[in-house]
């Protein structure tokens, strides 16, 4: 029983699950040795699981690459919004001539949410590497899925709140007598709009990561 001692957790799975059920229904393992004893069961299930381990490893590598991309997008969003500071060269009577991100609470929340998302992504890279190295681990993947789901909500909420303020800044609202400030603060508006786009890309990547983890969590 060398094969069962090489990978202890697989031996445990074999004993209780579907080794008796796989043989009549699934032809994937394709072994015709069903009438022999447990050593062959161990060998067939382990051999049948190795290509599945390779597939999960591919998913893990894709997950890692997506996380790196999401780090880039989230950091870009945070930095672009956090460094906004435009001072107009002239002075008008009613409008302030300086605009920065902390003048609007929605933008402050945006910077905080994207900062948290970037920090979480950097800290989740080791867990992602663990999922690549050991494709059949469940705990790390489940933890990543739970935290990714929370991050989807956080990032999307920051991006949407900032987007609604940006929309208001671009178009104004005649019903409530809110003026479009983008006509004066051009550079500020462009930076802020770009940051919102980067944040939405981060949110999309998070959604994709959640679905990837769910697919990789399947127990065959």
């Amino acid at each position: 029983m060398d094969s069962s001692q090489k990978s202890g957790e697989m031996a445990i799975n074999i004993n209780e699950t579907k080794s008796a059920e796989i043989k009549p229904t699934k032809t994937k393992s394709g072994k015709g040795k069903s009438d022999l004893g447990p050593p062959i069961i161990v060998a067939t299930t382990k051999a049948a699981r190795d290509p599945k381990g390779g597939w999960k490893r591919g998913v893990g590598i894709f997950d890692f690459i997506l996380r790196i991309a999401a780090i880039g997008a989230a950091l870009a969003a945070t930095a672009t919004m956090g460094t906004t500071d435009q001072t107009l060269p002239f002075f008008t009577q009613f409008l302030q001539f300086q605009a920065s991100y902390d003048d609007l609470p929605a933008f402050t929340y945006f910077v905080i949410a994207n900062g948290i998302a970037s920090a979480y992504l950097v800290l989740s890279l080791p867990f992602s590497i663990v999922c690549i190295v050991r494709p059949h681990v469940v705990g790390a993947r489940l933890l990543l899925l739970i935290l990714d789901t929370v991050m989807v909500a956080l990032t999307t909420s920051g991006a949407a709140a900032a987007a609604s303020i940006v929309y208001l800044a671009h178009n104004g609202n005649p019903n409530t007598n809110w003026n479009a400030i983008c006509q004066q603060f051009n550079d500020f508006c462009q930076r802020v709009s770009g940051a919102v786009v980067a944040s939405f890309i981060t949110a999309l990547i998070f959604m994709f990561l959640v679905v990837l983890s769910a697919v990789a969590l399947r127990r065959n």
Binding site: E16, A106, A160, I165, I181, V210, A214, L217
Partner: protein, 188 residues
């Protein structure tokens, strides 16, 4: 060995699929809660209509939800999410009956994630506008409209609650589906 194998087969079906069935029932109950919450939000926001008894020269004396595009998006998003939850009740019942369905759970996770994003986007966009309506912004010279439109402001603030209840409901739904997928009793 064959008797042992049969005994293992018998012991795998009851406790593992029993827990999966409990998870599926909890999933169904959470979907019902989500339907009620998002429906209440959509209706509360959609029926806002306040007309002030006096008229001023510069400010409109009537406030509705479609005067602000973010609130329109909020109503649309909540309606879409409510309709999706209603349709996904069928899949949820299928999961209670057949706890071992795997591909449908992954489809459900996919759509739940998309709907989570949509619901959060609608709720946050409306929350930003509601905050602005309450406090205004001195830098951008945006006045707080809540001072004139009291009942409109209260309604739009209250309708946010149902939507923000629906967001953790969706997070829990995704986590429950993932737990059900990862358990050993789940097989095709």
């Amino acid at each position: 060995m064959k008797a042992a194998a049969l005994e293992f087969r018998g012991s795998t079906s009851t406790p593992r699929t029993g827990v999966n069935r409990g998870v599926s029932i909890l999933d169904f109950v959470l979907r019902l809660v989500g339907i009620i919450a998002t429906l209440a939000s959509a209706i509360t926001m959609g029926t806002t209509n306040e007309t002030l008894p006096f008229a001023t020269r510069f400010i409109r004396f009537r406030a509705e939800y479609d005067d602000l595009p973010s609130l329109t998006f909020f109503v649309a998003a909540n309606s879409v999410v409510c309709g999706y939850l209603f349709l996904s009740l069928a899949l949820s019942i299928l999961h209670i009956v057949r706890s071992a369905a795997r591909r449908s759970r992954i489809i459900l996770v996919l759509f739940d994630t998309v709907m989570l994003g949509l619901l959060t986007a609608g709720a946050s966009a409306a929350a930003a506008i509601v905050y602005l309506a309450h406090k205004g912004n001195s830098r951008a010279n945006w006045i707080a409209i809540c001072r004139q439109y009291n009942s409109f402001c209260e309604r739009i603030s209250g309708s946010l609650i149902g939507s923000f209840v629906g967001i953790p409901v969706f997070v829990l739904l995704i986590i429950l589906s993932a737990v059900a997928l990862s358990r050993r009793g789940s097989h095709k």
